[in-house]
């Protein structure tokens, strides 16, 4: 019974923890401009993150090594540093975006300007990282994030023409958009679903919680059930936008537009629930990205790290995270639009993907690390196909960003 509860809890937190500000904004933007014609990208992205999150978890359980230790060891100091710089900067952008997201959601809930919420949000994030036990942190934010299911509920309450909606789900460039913007947003959605911080966090979390090989079955269930269901939430967000905003000619540029369909479909109660969900999801993701910044730095340089240690036993790790939060605060204090930061961060994520996923794949095949738990042939074929897709997306991202003026 206890085991079953553990599995259920794991799945629920995986669903609730799947969506972050990147998924919220990108899916709503895409839904409001392209309808469901890009939904296939979410499917591709979810399958990809399942494959690689699983692999990084297996590497961590079999060898006790988290992803960035593996990256440094396999790529060497030069390519490793290039990867660190890219991953760290994107992480920092994402931390900034998530904290901005918390503040924006609180502004919508309270009518108090979001700039006043930002310091509060950052301090709250730091306090949780400083004091709260890893598993409690994961479970509470994950369960609260589940309230985002209200997007799916709202979609039903909106009583859309399901046949019409389904016919939108065929990949096609809408008449008012160009092929370049279509592919630009395809890459953004892909980057949002496969953000590298998720594997950094996932593998480091496996070390934090001391996973062994026998725990892998549970982690596999969490990933293989939780992430696709989380992906369904993403689809519901896009679906809401496609039903309400697309016909109205509103293309999403702010968080208030993201939740507009929920207010229309599920009323005031729905609005309250969705705001709680967004605060929980962005707060959870702010924790994960801040920790990931610390994880990547500490693992590259070989510092002591982990929330399972007292902060004094992982001093540089904690100092690095404090600095990251301060930098994020500084960026937000300039008044830059957090939604815009989000839109850029998901595209840059796509650029950095190959450097993260290649070393994981290589080490997952190395018996020195994995013993008998090396990748099976099927996993390797799928992973190699994904690496090619990731590489193409990564190379195309910046040119498309320039050509389309960042999707404008």
């Amino acid at each position: 019974m206890k085991r079953l509860l553990g599995v259920a809890l794991g799945i629920l937190t995986a669903i609730g923890g799947f969506v972050d500000i990147g998924d919220l904004v990108t899916n709503a933007v895409v839904g409001s401009r392209f309808g469901l014609s890009l939904i296939w990208v979410v499917v591709v992205g979810v399958v990809g993150i399942c494959v690689f999150a699983n692999m990084s978890g297996r590497v961590a359980a079999a060898s006790g090594r988290a992803t960035f230790e593996v990256i440094r060891e396999r790529l060497g100091p030069r390519a490793g540093l290039a990867n660190l710089s890219a991953s760290f900067l994107i992480n920092l952008m994402t931390v900034t975006a998530e904290i901005g997201g918390i503040a924006l959601a609180l502004q919508l809930a309270s009518s108090v300007n979001y700039l006043l919420w930002i310091p509060l949000a950052a301090v709250a994030v730091w306090l949780v990282i400083w004091r709260v036990k890893f598993s409690i942190m994961e479970n509470v934010t994950g369960l609260l994030g589940l309230t985002l299911i209200v997007f799916a509920v709202a979609l039903f309450l909106l009583k859309p023409d399901w046949g019409n909606l389904a016919s939108q789900a065929i990949p096609a460039v809408p008449a008012e958009e160009t092929g370049a913007t279509y592919w630009y947003f395809a890459i953004a959605l892909f980057g949002a679903a496969m953000t590298p911080y998720e594997v950094f966090f996932f593998s480091s979390g496996a070390v934090e919680e001391g996973w062994k090989i026998k725990d892998l079955i549970q982690s596999r269930i969490n990933v293989l059930v939780g992430f696709p269901l989380g992906g369904l939430l993403s689809v519901a967000i896009a679906g809401c936008a496609a039903v309400v905003l697309l016909p109205a000619g509103i293309s999403v540029t702010s968080l208030s537009q993201v939740i507009l369909p929920v207010a229309e479909g599920a009323g005031k109660l729905g609005l309250a629930v969705v705001l709680l969900g967004i605060v929980a999801a962005t707060f959870g993701a702010a924790l994960e990205t801040t920790l990931s910044s610390g994880y990547t730095l500490a693992q590259f340089f070989g510092w002591s790290w982990g929330k399972f240690r007292a902060p004094a036993q992982a001093a540089r790790f904690h100092l690095a995270m404090i600095i990251c939060l301060l930098v994020g605060l500084g960026v937000l204090a300039t008044g830059v639009d957090p939604v815009l930061v989000t839109e850029y961060s998901v595209v840059f994520s796509a650029v950095a993907l190959p450097l993260t996923y290649l070393p994981i794949l290589i080490v997952a095949n190395d018996p020195q690390y994995m013993g008998q738990h090396v990748n099976g042939r099927g996993v390797n074929v799928v992973a190699m196909v994904y690496l090619v897709v990731i590489l193409v997306a990564s190379l195309a991202a910046i040119p498309l960003m320039i050509v389309t003026g960042a999707g404008a």
Binding site: R65, E73, P77, S304, P311, A312, Q368
Partner: protein, 146 residues
């Protein structure tokens, strides 16, 4: 000048067998995580220092090595500024190298395990400084989260 014919076409003889564990520097040592005797991360292996075995004269550099000269041995794992020079080129002065003597190494596997505590090592001074001057002074800094 022309490279000699690729040797791959003729299978090369295997290296004569040796008794101890073989370690290829790039594959098994460089960039690996170093843990102290308590399993706490100390640093990574940023570079390695070689020297003549104890009691032997310095290995000649730049001149012909007399046949029969004993092979150099690993004297220390290096860390600190040497990482920067390994990435960007150049070489830090010998006095700035932070050494972990080979005699402190207990085993080499997926990680390099030391047989001593990290507390006394030069390689750990930045960590101790950040801890004592900053982190331990923030309330709750020494509280075990478990």
């Amino acid at each position: 000048m022309k490279t000699p014919r690729p040797l791959g076409s003729v299978p090369l003889a295997p290296v004569p067998p040796v008794a101890g564990q073989t370690l290829d520097a790039q594959l098994h040592l460089l960039d690996r995580q170093v843990l102290d005797s308590g399993g706490v991360p100390v640093t990574t292996v940023d570079d390695l220092e070689l020297g003549a075995p104890e009691g032997e004269p310095e290995t000649p550099m730049g001149t012909v090595i007399p046949p029969g000269t004993p092979a150099p041995v690993l004297t220390a794992l290096l860390t600190g500024p040497v990482l920067g020079t390994r990435i960007f080129g150049g070489r830090p002065p010998s006095s700035r190298l932070i050494r972990i003597p080979w005699t402190d190494v207990a085993s080499v596997g997926v990680v390099v395990q030391l047989g001593v505590s990290g507390q006394g090592l030069d390689a750990d001074w930045v960590e101790r400084w950040v801890r004592d001057k900053i982190i331990a002074r923030i309330p709750g800094g020494r509280r075990d989260p478990r």
